[in-house]
Symmetry: D3
Subunit: 137 residues, 6 copies
């Protein structure tokens, strides 16, 4: 059977502040610019979840994308949507909430939890001009 | 001379929390849902600024859109980008930072400050599905 | 209080066939081209619902857009999403399912059913290049 | 019968240079900035053509949008696509090819030439951030 | 010479119904949800065709994208646009018209028929949130 | 540390004409169609620059995307924005300004000049339907 990649886009809105523990506000501003503003800011995030698998000849699906949506909402979106990534999300503890760290932690939440489908790529758009992609490498 | 409307889109990312002063966190959650999360969240905002005027026969412009961009950045974007609308923006004091209140306050910042061009509409997208428009009524 | 227009976008996918009762397939093909293909085709529709009202000073809202979404889903999207507009939708009976007729019937479903908010515009995108707007005129 | 506005989007790519006759290159650079670069530059333009009319009860159409596309291509797109607006387009002679002047001239090409449909708005996007609208005022 | 990938996007609108032969309507509804609605529904599909090759030093092209468009329209779009994928398209016979099965059959239509260019990827968007990609594996 | 790809989108508007030296205008029209129009035309180009690297545990960044933007503007956008690719851009000399040749030359401008980050992909959209990608092969 042919192997196809299937992608589901989901959206969430979250707040964050970029700051390294142990640095002063001035040092963080030098490092992160306006992203270190102490009161925080936020973004509308777009997440593209891609899994790969053989097409099931009985259903014509690799995996039902409605099921992917459900699993991603349960494992990720329900926790981060309208939340503050610095203080509200247990599985973001201990890392600075850059897009890079966020996409890697989302991978850890999803890998092995997609009904057996193989996760191959996560793309996370923080703004319409900035995107990060993680492939589990 | 013909009268033309010209529009400039600008972008900013900001944080906010919706909560009415005097209400408890539970009451605010009932009123605003997840938008009242105490630690705040945020959005990528798109703002469309529309002015109307006669086309200047010498330049072919109603107004140079680079100039509109410059004026909107100075009066609005520089204050709200990567800021928290509840605590960082002086001209948002005293109102709950809903999109409706934000677009009306932006109107007050821009009207009469566009080199004589007549402001006729502000559209503010908070997410790709939610938009508010103010026409000064 | 200022008067603001607030817009919510919703999406649905539906099937349809354009054909005038009483005409032969050949006559309908002459009138509607490929849109009259007897086995039908379909589209991803985007609907923008705009209501107008004064900003409530207590909430900062004209109307909660989550509530608009809920009402539009109940009155419209639940009926048309993944449905065939020619045979599955009771309130489309008796009209050819063009975008024009669809947007007017959607207006009839929503007007007076938006918690008192004043409906002022419906925009319906049938493809990314074709759109119709109804303002109740 | 209800009155509906129907919109068709078309696209074209064109070159232009902004410069006022009688001014030196330096003076034009002061007036138009990089837009006056003597060798010219160009854009992908998006044009939204909106007409208004009653819905024909026999067809369910205000006007067949395929027909609008055909008429707009014949009167406008065929002349400007992959052309230089300063030298190749007869009906742009005598004006500086700003978006404002272009949209007004396109109005003159289309008004009265849309099979009797009433032209009510032309929106012309020069970039994804700059747009002009003409309503025949 | 450098090897470059070139991509052409095309669009079509089609109808379909997801149902496995031999299952009842109730069983298909359990399997496919609303996608199994007996009267069918439809989508606006976006297809991105990517070919790879060396840049021809004489033309600066891998392959003229106008030629790619022409070939894809002839082999694919002319058959599926405004068609019903369950009954109107000969080369979809024998498979359930999921996006996965559709993209694989489109690959079979295009591979070896692109003037010698090497087909490396097909991306098919069924909605703005659901996409499948086939790379011939 | 995990390896992440980070992407920054930038935009520019430029003019060009496709014509092979030594061919007549008629021969170039046969080869390039309207793209060979002697007076030139132009496009809004979107460029996606992707670099790959390990996430720095101290900053949570692969590389600050504001720094990528700055470097790409300095090396590429400042030269091509509002310029004519046939005559104004020194590093385009000697090649026909197709998207393929442009993306390869941009690669040469950026590779090794991104503060040590590894350039892995450049995607260049010439129109919303035509895209080329170069990966340094």
């Amino acid at each position: 059977m042919p192997t196809v990649r299937v992608t589901r886009k989901v959206h969430f809105s979250a707040g964050h502040r970029l700051a390294r523990p142990g640095l002063s506000d001035e040092e963080n501003r030098e490092l992160y610019g306006a992203c270190s503003n102490p009161a925080g800011h936020g973004h509308n995030y777009d997440l593209e979840v891609t899994v790969r698998g053989e097409v099931d000849p009985d259903t014509g699906y690799v995996i039902d994308l409605k099921r992917v949506k459900e699993l991603v909402h349960r494992a990720v979106v329900d926790d981060v949507d309208h939340a503050n990534l610095n203080v509200d999300v247990e599985w973001m503890e201990g890392v600075i909430p850059t897009a890079e760290n966020l996409v890697v932690r989302i991978w850890d939440r999803l890998e092995g939890n997609l009904d057996g489908a193989e996760l191959v790529s996560l793309k996370l758009w923080e703004t319409e001009r900035n995107m990060v992609e993680y492939r589990g490498e």
